[in-house]
Amino acid sequence: MSEVKKRHSDTRMVPYPSQAIVPERDLNRQPVLETRHLGIEFGGLKAVDDFNMIIGRTEIAGLIGPNGAGKTTVFNLLTKVYEPTTGTVLINGRDTKGLSIVQTAHLGVARTFQNIRLFSQMSVEENVRIGLHNQIKYSMLSGVLRLPSYWKQERRQHEEAMELLSIFDMQDLADVRAGSLPYGAQRRLEILRALATNPSLLLLDEPAAGMNPHETEELMENIAKIRDRFQIAILLIEHDMSLVMGVCEGICVLNFGRIIAKGTADEIQRNPVVIEAYLGKRKEG
């Protein structure tokens, strides 16, 4: 046989990740988030590896796993705090390769932080107004010169902010300095601030951390309420299993940076691999 000049000799073939699950109602709509073979290395350590996930338009999804499994790292990859070393993140079908945190936020991703990151010197209302930054605009000049557009848009921002604060009954706290709020209220404010950016995907990093069972119960209802009202997708990291099992439709379990199981709450609870990851291997004999 004569020499055939191969033009594709270097192509590495990889499986196209397709064992994704989404709620049936979102089946025929473009997913909010899709990741393919997503991974990142820190000095040789694969913190996240081959992470494949699809989230439907109105899905509430959960990302769980033991401490140090790489859950927050996934959030940082999705929001481009870290640039992934391998794989792709698609937000509303758009590849986020090379985009900055700000540009990714403009695509419709908003998040809260595990270690709360409020603008602590600013008031509660101002925090929400920062979320509205790209929703209700006017130029610096009209702000400095107090042109009519300033007054009009300020009023709109105020009304919108109050509307959002009413979701968690926080209107009365509007003028309080965010840093002086109690812990639970700070977590709720972070959610509202993220919501103010009008996202299509909301990432919540341990929203119930530090809350009492009653507050967690309330939060659970509110998460569902937010999804219903704004028709957005929510992905949450949480250690409180009552919350995860109560509100999440699809659940993804991460251990040592890899997905070890995907499924509904019931499936996950019965999955022996998951039980092993959380409780350790049962001693034989």
Binding site: M122, M140, T197
Partner: protein, 357 residues
């Protein structure tokens, strides 16, 4: 709307204080009851207020430590002197007010352009590294101004760099600076400029852009995650401050018959920073008061001769040490807590200024 009202009151008090001071001073000038030394200081006080308020925009509102603010003042001052001299000698423009206005515009533009050029590299850095680079730029400006020679003759302006053999009337003479400047700055002009500065800074703080600047200060990553382009807003604060500092320089420079480039050294930048810190980080009214008080005070203490700066140093240290004493602090807060304005000093937020990580 409680916070809105207290902000409004704070702004009204700020403008009220400045306007009242201007009225009193004008009356005293007309009555001739003002002391000679105070009268001579009125215009410099206006410049230093502008410097302090603009630096507060960078350090307090935007949360970046800048140690080279005097550099922008220097650019403004010498641009103003050159433009004023050029208009007078090249165009026979006799009207001092028009010359002052044009000089102010030119000084503001030059300082603003420098602010953009310096801001691009500087604002990529964080914390102490940012501070040291602003210091470096301040020193470079001082050093370069030492080498610039400008003269005016029939054909227009002539520039020389490290070359003092240029024909015509010398406006800038390298390390010897400017001599025989026609002093056209007036107290009224200074007052108007201070008012403009206050309007710009206070309105900016309470607007969409101002909130974005403060959000960036409080938490950069969170601000980015909310889709706020942080570098753009840091730049906005930095350049606005540079323009104001440039205009302050014009006002200052056109009030002095002679001015040398080494006047605007690192020490002046530090002095302005002292005004800002003593007045309260982020507190605009505080900057106004402390810039005024700390400009007048050393003059008033002149009878102490060599002990003057010594006392100033001791006072500075004592204010810092006692002001940060936890017991005294809480006592003061209970005493003055009710009277604090909308943007009072941030107690904990400055950590990020020098990046204590």
């Amino acid at each position: 709307m409680k916070a809105k009202r207290s902000k409004l009151i704070y702004n009204l008090v700020t403008f009220g204080v400045v306007i009242a001071a201007f009225v009193i001073m004008t009356i005293m000038i007309n009555n001739k009851t003002i002391s000679r030394s105070l009268k001579g200081q009125l215009i410099p006080i206006c410049s230093w207020i502008m410097m302090a308020v603009s630096l507060n925009l960078v350090v307090g509102i935007s949360g970046e430590l800048s140690l080279g603010h005097a550099g922008f003042m220097s650019l403004g001052a010498f641009t103003g002197i050159v433009v004023s001299g050029w208009l007078l000698n090249g165009f026979q423009m006799e009207d001092p007010t028009l010359r002052l206005v044009l000089a102010l515009v030119a000084g503001g533009v030059v300082a603003g352009v420098a602010g953009v050029l310096i801001g691009i590299p500087v604002l990529r850095l964080r914390g102490d590294y940012l501070a040291i680079v602003t210091l470096a730029f301040g020193e470079i400006i001082k050093n370069v101004m030492n080498c610039i020679y400008v003269s005016v003759d029939g054909t227009g302006l002539r520039f020389g760099f490290l070359n003092n053999t240029i024909p015509g009337i010398i406006l800038l003479n390298g390390p010897n600076g400017a001599k025989g400047v026609k002093t056209i700055s007036t107290f009224t002009a200074g007052f108007v400029l201070v008012l403009i500065t206050l309007v710009v800074v206070l309105n900016l703080v309470n607007s969409r852009a101002g909130r974005a600047i403060q959000a960036t200060r409080d938490n950069r990553i969170a601000a980015e995650s909310m889709g706020v382009p942080v570098t753009r807003y840091k730049m906005m604060a930095f350049v606005t401050a540079a323009v104001i500092a440039g205009m302050a320089g014009v006002l200052y420079g056109l009030n002095m018959a002679t001015l040398v480039p080494t006047k605007f050294s690192f020490n002046e930048s530090i002095n302005v920073l002292v005004f800002v810190v003593m007045g309260g980080i982020g507190n605009v009214l505080g900057s106004v008061i402390s810039a005024t008080a700390l400009t007048i005070l050393p003059e008033k203490l002149r009878f102490l001769q060599n002990y003057r700066m010594l006392i100033y140093a001791v006072v500075l240290i004592l204010v810092m040490v006692l002001g940060n004493n936890p017991t005294l602090k809480s006592w003061f807060r209970s005493l003055f807590g009710r009277f604090r304005g909308g943007r009072s000093a941030r107690e904990n937020g400055t950590e990020e200024v020098i990046g204590r990580e």
